[in-house]
């Protein structure tokens, strides 16, 4: 094998093996240094314990032999350097202490950006990929508010809430910085429409993954990624989640680690808020704005700093009635006319005025309240 490779190279290559699970990699690297572990995995040295048991399986032996040919340590390591990705082993002084002390530490970590971000105050904000307009607005306000208060936000860079909170954080240009934890290699952007966001997060904050470059997103990697999000946060805030959403896994991982979980309440009829509402029923603290999160971090909430003045003209008369009808659930124009007791024409006119003023948004024939709610 190519001499002169640093130990990180062997660990990076092993992490990308086909059939390499978290526990197998942890077992390999616990008992051997990375170069030895490489030899053990390829059966050039005797294996013990779990690894001996695993290597007794023929399909694992074959898969690892194949992977070793495809993922040579020197090449994987060169690829990391080319991408400016740091490879961190728990033995490294730069390895995040939070993760090293975790009950399920990543055996090897890939990082891009500034690791010192993890020394600041950190809140995880996660949520569903199919967020409602209200959920998006809540995520936007949290992102902006936390950024202004100088709190770093950990999230998963997924569609929906995750993406919105980081975009809002970046747009606010406050002290708070983004930490993105992803489930695939740092060169595989998923979802693709977040390409710009990935780059911005790596530039302004930190991008982390357990997977070496070239590993694609696979469903089973996401729950594992969620444990890292939980482990890095002081508080986990779930914005919107369905009854069995991935965000609830993050919340459960946080509870396992005695990290407080908070949730943004939503109407009981909203399917996208079913998971968060059940968290609230189970005792999670409610989050109405970034101030609630800051309070839980024992930071002085400077509400005035991120509460923007309302620039939109207050809806009056019919418009107000229509707004109230839409406040709790999205409706079609038929539904608005029926609930507000207006004719179709009057409802259409009121909706047009509200839309023009920026209180209501419509798509697919559905209308819902947008922006911060009318007080």
């Amino acid at each position: 094998m190519s001499a002169g490779c640093p130990p990180e190279a062997y660990a990076a290559a092993l992490a990308g093996f086909e059939g390499m699970t978290l526990s197998r990699l942890a077992a390999l690297l616990r008992h051997h240094d990375p170069e030895q572990a490489w030899a053990v995995a390829l059966r050039q040295q005797p294996a013990t314990g779990l690894i001996a048991h695993v290597l007794a399986k023929r399909e694992v032996r074959d898969a690892w032999q194949r992977s070793a040919a495809a993922r040579r340590p020197d090449e994987v390591f060169a690829r990391c350097q080319e991408l400016a990705v740091q490879v961190l082993l728990p033995s490294s002084p730069r390895f995040p202490g939070l993760l090293a002390a975790d009950r399920q530490p990543p055996p090897v970590l890939f990082a891009k950006g500034d690791l010192s971000v993890l020394e600041g105050r950190r809140v995880a904000v996660v949520g569903t990929r199919n967020a409602t307009a209200a959920g998006r607005e809540a995520a936007r306000q949290l992102g902006a508010g936390l950024a202004t208060a100088g709190v770093h936000v950990v999230s998963g860079l997924a569609r929906g809430v995750d993406g919105v909170v980081h975009r809002a954080l970046l747009a606010a240009e406050g002290e708070g910085r983004p930490v993105g934890v992803v489930a695939c290699g740092l060169d595989v952007v998923y979802p693709r429409e977040h390409r710009d966001l990935w780059a911005a997060v790596a530039n302004c904050g930190l991008l982390l993954s357990e997977m070496p470059p070239g590993i694609g997103p696979e469903a089973f990697r996401f729950p594992l990624r969620n444990r890292i999000i939980a482990a890095l946060a002081e508080v986990v805030v779930v914005v919107e989640s369905r009854e069995r959403g991935g965000s609830l896994i993050t919340a459960a991982e946080a509870l396992d680690r005695s990290i407080p979980v908070m949730a943004v309440p939503g109407p009981p009829t909203n399917r996208a808020a079913a998971g968060t509402n059940s968290l609230l029923r189970d005792g999670a603290a409610p989050v109405l704005d970034a101030g609630d999160v800051l309070a839980s971090l024992a930071l002085e909430p400077e509400r005035a700093a991120f509460e923007m003045a309302e620039l939109r003209a207050r809806p009056r008369a019919e418009d107000h009635a229509v707004y109230e009808v839409l406040r709790h659930e999205p409706r079609t124009i038929d539904g608005v006319a029926l609930a507000a007791g207006l004719s179709l024409v009057d409802a259409a006119m009121a909706l047009a005025r509200l839309e023009q003023a920026g209180w209501v948004g419509g798509a697919d024939g559905w209308f819902e309240c947008v922006g911060s709610p009318l007080r």
Partner: protein, 504 residues
Amino acid sequence: MLAAVRSATVFGVEGRPVTVEVHVATGIPSFQIVGLPDEACRESRDRVRAAVLSSGLQWPSCRVTVNLAPSGQRKGGSGLDLPIAVGFLAAHGQVPVEALAGLGFVGELGLDGSMRPVPGIAPMVAAMQPCRPVVPVPGFREAQGVVGDGVRVAGCLRELVDALNVEAPWPEPPDTELFEEEPPVPDLADVRGQAMARMALEVAAAGGHHLLLVGSPGSGKTMLAMRLSGLLPPLDAATSLATTMVHSAAGVRLPAGGLVRRAPFRAPHHSSSMVSLVGGGSTSLRPGEISLSHGGVLFLDELGEFAPAVLDGLRQPLEEGVIRLARARVSATLPASFLLVAATNPCPCGGGPPGQCDCDEGARLRYLRRLSGPLLDRFDLRVGVTRPEVDDLLASGGGEPTAVVAARVAAARQRSLERIGMTPAAIPPGRLDDLAPLADAARNRLRDELERDRLTGRGYHRIRRVARSIADLRGDGELVEDEHVVLAMQMRVSLRVSHRASAA
């Protein structure tokens, strides 16, 4: 020993006159048909011979040659059975040749000598004029619808021969009671709730706007679409005749009166082939669904499931109102001026209110991309349809019945015709300011929408046309008001391709 009989064949939706010449001579017994007959036509030899013998007439051992003139043109179908038989009988002297003067024959023969109807009697009869047509009994109304009085009928070959020999009077034409009444169109009063979609149907009917219904499964898209043809006014004389020709040529059952007067409603399945939809075939160029819905409604359910090439085939007829079909040897122009109504789900899972949908944006995008492009752009009206709410279903009484809405539609059409001589959907972009001027408030609203990038240039023209139709329906003066524009915009929902709002 020679006879010539007038008949016709169908080509596209037109009849073409054919002269059937029959020559009977001594020689080796044979029966030949020349003049480019197709397979069905060539088989008529066996039918004709059997029918003549079953009718108690003679088929001697002689040489029979049939020529279908003009000989260079392909002929198809079984409608030439009757003229061939009559020609043979005249040439052989069993019927006087003079009796055939001024008559034209069309019909298929059964082996027992009975006369059966064929598709395309209407256009064939039209092509045979000024001859008096002789048709099988079930084809009577169809022929009468085209040429008026003077249609002769016969039930079987024997009856016909007796009439021609003046041994019996011509059989009486059948009574109207023999024909079934048209089933009534479904009534709009059956639809509960759906105020917006109802209004869209009304606007579509009044202005001639193509309509896209977007909604989750079970929300009633098909139910609504089926009620549109009842809102359209009865066909005018020219359209009625053209549509009758198409229906006749395609062998679609015609209504009792013989003429298609009510706007047709056609709903081909999404597995339909290109030829079935736009028409075609190598020799006869049979009309497709778009021609069958001439003057009426073509409903395409599950628009996204149609093959993209099939949908693209609709674009030219949508623009021109006719379809030009050409094959190596033949070409034809068929009428195809129809109101397109399509239905689609908003996304693969069927959608619903925001937050209910299971699809990620990639899947949505792929689904909608199948519809997008030039065809989607042809729809002036894009209306969301949702499952009616419980209150709606329980509300006492349905909505307005078809008759009431149809009266408003007719009045609006009349107003538009009197003022500008066309339906608003047909106003060319350059003449919008001239024919559909805007009030100041309406102009400002549209300018604002354009500036905010929520409206494209094409969307702008379409909304102005729809707004004009709404103004016509409400009987409001010369100017298109703000209110009309707002309603028009509500009837053009954006398809949520991305949460970064897409322009209409």
